[in-house]
Amino acid sequence: MENKAIDVGVLAGKILVESGSEMWRVEDTTKRIIDHASTNNKTEAFTSLTGLLVNLKDTPYTRFMQVEKRGINMDHINSVNLLSRRYTEDKITLDELEEKLLRLRNAKPQYPLWLQTVGAGFEGAFFMFIFTQTYNWADFPLAFFAGALGYLVTYYISTRLRIRFMSEFLGALTVGLCAVIGVRLHLGDNIQNIIIGAIMPPLPGVPMINAMRDIFEGNLLSGLERMMEALIILSAIAFGVGVVLRYM
């Protein structure tokens, strides 16, 4: 029973880390699931962005699970939270919890790719108005197009290439090229405004906030890991835009 619970608990924690949750939630969920199954509540957890180590004190049960890919997936965070709460309220059994978690891991995103792309495009166009405080509708179509194409490039490269940070660099490069070429073809007015808006989708805003929250919660290791990852992504984006601004 305890052996099984520790497996399921670490699996729930792993899904949470993969979905970009804060570390205290990962530890809390893992401990709640395992503590609920064992009578002597003595779970110890060591969490970082690249792996979870959980140990049940005074028993031979220890688990380590590696985390290989990370992203942001709010629906998974919400679902794992819901499932673990239903389990600790004894509404579902441990086996059902494991089955549901495994099914959740393979679940497709609830919005199809075309809707995500359209969303990224509109985000770029809307935030162009917000950030630059200009009200120039002539730039709207080009900002939409650049944002959507930049998101598609980032998405495809990140799913096909094993090297990290390259997808963000090439996405930013695409956004910059779209803006410059579009303005040269008189499809828009202001290169600067279009880039400021359309670069929004790949920016690591949520990881930055999670990093700060981790640090303030005392999870220094994962906080610094996250901060470092976000800063490298930021540099990759700055490089991509910078190349376009410098040489075009």
Partner: protein
């Protein structure tokens, strides 16, 4: 500052936060609430900026408001408060960041460094505001530090 500008700011900060939710797989139940929080935070910042109260204080208070509203929503909807942290997205200092980058490329290093420091201060103010809201919630709900 006209009614037209006000309407654009409210609707675009709302829609921008909502479209951001689309590609981070936001649960449908939280999409509307997180967008309203995003618009509320941005409008607070916008008014403070328009009335000349400065961008650091504006960002701090806007992030504080986003954090508080996020906690209220997570309690009423019984969802993790992470869902509602997307309300901070309109506050991202995108324009200043771009100006810093452009100044670096044009070899205006002094301007670039001062812009970069400004971006870092704004980012710090946002993070501090958001964490301060969590702190207030912890005090209200008496969540004590972990003890062995």
């Amino acid at each position: 500052m006209s009614l037209y500008h006000l309407l654009i700011q409210i609707s675009f900060s709302y829609l921008g936060t909502m479209t951001f939710g689309l590609f981070i797989n936001m649960p449908k139940k939280a999409l509307n609430a997180s967008s309203i929080i995003g618009a509320a935070g941005w409008m607070l910042y916008w008014f403070m900026f328009k009335f000349g109260l400065g961008s650091i204080l504006g960002n701090f208070l806007a992030a504080f408001l986003v954090g508080l509203l996020g906690i209220v929503c997570s309690l009423t909807k019984k969802m993790p408060s992470t869902m509602f942290s997307t309300g901070l997205v309109p506050l991202v200092p995108g324009a200043s960041g771009y100006q810093a980058l452009a100044a670096f490329i044009n070899h205006q290093t002094d301007l670039a460094i001062s812009k970069t420091v400004h971006v870092m201060m704004v980012a710090g103010a946002i993070a501090l505001g958001y964490v301060a809201a969590q702190m207030v919630a912890d005090i209200i709900y008496q969540r004590k530090p972990k003890q062995d």
